[in-house]
């Protein structure tokens, strides 16, 4: 413990610092993450490299340990909060430096549901993976989704629900897209604790995503497939 307290981030070389940031992210140490980000910026790292190599790299470890039952929701939230601290510094710089953009996503929690922890995690990890994310918040009726889709023209629509009583509303949104002939324009990803793959298929989503890491991988796969189809 005393060894950890003695670590001075600015005295570590780049590799050691990134490794330490992985640990600090794992432990949810927001101030240390912010300090690490600032040090790497001072050393000339690009915002994109800091994001992908230090923050997303660390958060991926957190995601794996959550999936494997080693970490639980409170620890993941602390880690996410720490990552958010780093992202707040990097976001304006990413916009300035023209980081690569993988695709665009509109995401929101469905009508009747105010839970957004999972959605926020997905948003953050998607941003970390190079997606532009437009988060329309909680308790969204179908009109909100349609409006955001029209305005933002994203590649992906993401919907989240935590309650068994609200998750059927995802089908309302998808059915409306079908009725309006818009369904094929978007990749529809759904997630939330009570959902499963079977439900995702039954309501006509493209995929159910078990957690934020899966959401990122699924989004990348679908977007690259879509781009390939367009190129073909």
């Amino acid at each position: 413990m005393s060894d950890e307290e003695d670590i001075v981030l600015s005295e570590l070389n780049d590799d050691e610092l990134v490794e330490q940031m992985f640990d600090d992210l794992y432990d949810g140490l927001k101030e240390e993450i912010e300090e690490g980000v600032n040090i790497l910026l001072e050393r000339g790292w690009t915002p994109y490299d800091i994001l992908t190599k230090a923050l997303v790299g660390g958060m991926t470890i957190v995601g794996h340990d959550f999936r494997d039952g080693i970490l639980f929701v409170p620890e993941v939230l602390l880690a996410a909060n720490a990552m958010k601290g780093g992202m707040t510094i990097l976001k304006p710089l990413l916009a300035e430096t023209g980081a690569p953009r993988v695709g665009k996503m509109v995401i929101g929690t469905v009508k009747g549901d105010i839970h957004d922890i999972g959605k926020n995690l997905v948003s953050m990890m998607m941003e970390g993976a190079g997606f532009e994310v437009v988060d329309i918040g909680i308790n969204n009726p179908v009109e909100n989704y349609l409006e955001a889709l029209e305005t933002e023209q994203p590649d992906i629509l993401g919907m989240s629900a935590l309650l068994t009583t609200t998750m059927p509303y995802m089908k309302v949104v998808i059915d409306t897209l079908v009725e309006q002939g818009l369904r094929e324009d978007y990749i529809v990803l759904v997630g939330g604790a009570p959902l499963n793959e079977e439900f995702g298929k039954a309501i006509g989503a493209d995929a159910y995503c078990r957690d934020a890491a899966v959401a990122v991988e699924t989004a990348k796969t679908f977007v690259s497939r879509k781009h390939n189809q367009l190129a073909g």
Binding site: F72, P74, L77, N81, I114, L163, T164, M167, P194
Partner: protein
Amino acid sequence: MMQPTELPDDASLTTSGYNSDSQGRILLLACGALAREILDLKRRNGWDHMALTCLPAILHVHPEKITQAVQEAIEKHREDYDQIFVVYADCGTGGLLEKACTELGVEMVKGPHCYSFFEGNQAFEARGEDETTAFYLTDFLARQFDAFVWKPLGLDRHPELRDMYFGNYTKLVYQAQIDDPNLTARARDCADRMGLEFERRFTGYGDLETTLAEWANRKP
């Protein structure tokens, strides 16, 4: 008046469940969170022909485990009783519990969860969108708030996470099944800890009582 010592303690109901000694031809297979309420109804109505077995209430923290636990309990007890009734609502199983009960030929309580049937499913549904931002506590949950809410969410260790969990809620609705000033004070304290406004709403036993009464008086 039943003495408190005759009631099962909350910690046992949360983690172990409950088995009544009474012999009956009907078994009520219930959630531990409903044990005291069902025992009270049994006593007041003289429903001695209905025995009670409760599964640990803490299953609600992992609702995906409820269906299998209930199925196994039905299989275990069905030889010993003429009839079994499941005193659970959907309880976050997404229809799986209802499906399992239907397949096993067993009836269960209607509604999405106990907050709904205590208030009365129709009344609860009618509130609908007005209460999207309400967090509900029953008598049992007011007594077991730490075991069901505070500790599983890690707020005992990381109180700074509170607003990440509850930031979108606006009020805590305490649905009182009985009049107990101590419980009301406790529920109010829960609201304060969560940073939410407090509302007390007396529900009594709602649809739980009418459902059990119907089952109790049904001809075999």
